[in-house]
């Protein structure tokens, strides 16, 4: 398959279709609207369902319904819309239902703005909705990864019966790059728990998150956290960049990682040994590599489009062994390579 030129948002939509997703429910919001627009064009041509719901809350509950029936399903939105979906996401997690939720983040809080942001990191990785649960959270840093990680998210969601989130940002959604689309795959994951009709041949299945007996609810939670342990052990993904001899380690995901790579090139040109850890899974967070790296570096620089959210996870991962500073812009602004370079230089020179 030859490469095509796509927007990040379009790449998500096409990759989802190729991963066997035939049900999309959404509500338009900048900067993710192209996901819905693309689905509106494609789904009717392939016998799928595109539905613009009356609200984000409706859309996420439609996702619950389709997932209960054992089919691949997704919704997408941007920050304020994803806040509205949180109740439904908690219900998905509480019912052990796989689904894909895409958040193409914009500046917040509140209505905020339409320009890119990463300030929904806490919401994505620390719950967002109520109760003890995790989402698998994937952070793409190119249009190619928008496509590849969409497929990966569906696979992981099905494998662990967990909702997965693709946490992108406005630049990732809007940027155009050449992309090699994934092969079309027939979705054939065995889901014996799904509501597919008993035909009088088996006991009926129940999809539910309500447990009136506390012992049962506790057991459900414990069972779920056993699964999370497996996810944390087996599914961590990250990219290392010039890390081997690094004195300063930048940690950044998504668009911030791209800017950081430019800054690292500039730092190396000045003789400063800088490297990068780019988390691809934000949950499970790449704790081990950060802890190991702490033994060899002077400190870490967390580059984020937020007031500093991932920085907490870096500190927990390296057990506060080395200093961690924040280099960030917010409100739709993006740190420049020069700003990241300055943060690297300050860390190298012990000025923080």
């Amino acid at each position: 398959m030859a490469k095509v030129l796509m927007k990040g948002n379009e790449a998500i939509a096409e990759a989802a279709i190729r991963a066997g997703c035939r049900h999309y429910f959404g509500y338009p919001i900048t900067p993710q609207t192209e996901v819905a627009a693309y689905m509106a064009k494609r789904m009717p041509k392939i016998g799928g369902t595109f539905l613009q719901a009356e609200s984000e809350i409706s859309a996420i509950n439609m996702v619950y319904g389709v997932s209960s029936a054992g089919l691949r399903v997704m919704t997408s939105s941007s920050s304020p819309g994803v806040s509205l979906k949180q109740e439904g996401i908690s219900y998905l997690a509480g019912s052990d239902l796989p689904a894909l939720i895409v958040n193409v983040q914009r500046g917040g809080p509140g209505l905020g703005g339409i320009q890119p942001s990463q300030s929904d990191y806490f919401q994505a990785t620390k719950g967002g909705g109520h109760g003890d649960y995790h989402l698998i959270v994937l952070a793409p840093a190119s249009v190619q990864e928008m496509a590849d990680l969409t497929v990966k998210a569906f696979d992981l969601a099905d494998k662990y019966r967990m909702p997965a989130m693709l946490l992108a940002d406005g630049t990732m959604g809007q940027m155009m790059e050449p992309v090699e689309l994934p092969e079309e795959c027939a979705h054939s994951v065995d889901k014996p728990w799904a509501l597919t009709g008993t035909q009088g041949k088996r006991e009926h299945n129940i999809i539910n998150s309500l447990y009136l007996v506390p012992e049962q609810l506790e057991e459900k939670n414990l069972e779920r956290y056993e699964r999370y342990k497996t996810v944390e052990r087996d599914e961590v993904m990250y990219e290392e960049y010039m890390l081997d001899d690094a004195d300063v380690c930048v940690v950044a995901f998504g668009i911030a990682a791209r800017v950081s790579k430019n800054a690292i090139t500039a730092a190396r040109a000045k003789g400063i040994k800088a490297g990068l850890i780019r988390p691809i899974t934000l949950y499970p967070f790449p704790k081990d590599i950060i802890r190991k790296t702490a033994e060899n570096v002077k400190g870490f620089v967390s580059v984020e489009l937020s007031m500093g959210q991932m920085i907490d996870d870096i500190r927990l991962a390296e057990e506060c062994k080395k200093p961690v500073t924040l280099c960030s812009r917010v409100g739709g602004m993006i740190p420049s390579p020069e700003e990241v370079l300055k943060a690297i230089e300050d860390m190298e020179g012990g000025k923080f």
């Binding site: 095509v4 900067p31 390579p337």
Partner: protein, 222 residues
């Protein structure tokens, strides 16, 4: 690249490269005419705009008209009143950057009567056959018809802007040229030119090659 019309309109499928092309075309026009204005009519995409090239355009002495809220946090599809001046003041050569697909072309409707009455325009379909929903001339023709009925102005020309961003090579351009030719035949329109990034232009052995400079943001590199 001859016989310029007073008004040049760039329309086409979402993400086909209209804004980039419009900016380069305005700079070319300025070499021939004293007053050139570029107007951004894109109410669909609040992210990539002619305003991103404001500095470049200003240096070239080109007047710009952009939606008041372009590049801000306001996602409001409002167009400024100066746009009437762009179509009504016939002393300036004008380049109009229209939003993608039929959704983008709706904004053109209210200016269409002035443009049609003056009848000195080129309505240009920007074709990029590397875009997944317009891989074939048949699909592009469908988009052309949708844009025409939304914007109220018939296309008069086609530009081959087929590209794969930094991965574009001679083969990409040549394949796009063949498909553009077919689209021209199917629609009965002329193929105005093939636009190619400057780094490649020297290697392209086609009629009417228009070398262009790309707008690129720093975070798009890598």
């Amino acid at each position: 690249m001859n016989s310029f019309k007073r008004v040049s309109l760039f329309a086409g499928h979402y993400g086909s490269g209209k804004t980039n092309l419009a900016v380069n075309y305005a700079i070319e026009l300025k070499k021939h005419f004293y007053r050139v204005v570029i107007a951004d009519l894109d109410i669909v995409n609040p992210y990539f705009r002619t305003k991103d090239s404001a500095e470049l355009l200003e240096k070239a002495g080109i007047e710009t008209v952009s939606p008041e809220f372009a590049n801000s946090n306001v996602d409001l599809p409002a167009l400024p009143s100066e746009l009437y001046g762009v179509v009504q003041n016939r002393h300036r050569y004008a380049v109009l950057d229209i939003g993608g697909d039929d959704r983008g072309a709706y904004a053109l409707g209210r200016f269409a009567p002035y443009i049609l009455e003056e009848n000195d325009f080129e309505m240009i379909y920007v074709a990029n056959f590397c875009r997944p929903l317009t891989r074939e001339p048949e699909e592009a023709l469908e988009v052309m018809r949708e844009i025409e009925s939304a914007g109220g102005i018939p296309f008069t020309a086609i530009v081959n802007n087929t590209n794969l961003s930094h991965l574009t090579d001679e083969k990409t351009v040549a394949e796009g040229y063949a498909k553009s030719k077919r689209l021209a035949d199917m629609s009965g329109l002329k193929l105005l030119f093939t636009s190619v990034e400057k780094r490649l232009a020297g290697n392209i052995d086609l009629e009417n090659v228009f070398p262009i400079e790309l707008q690129r943001k720093y975070y798009e590199i890598l």
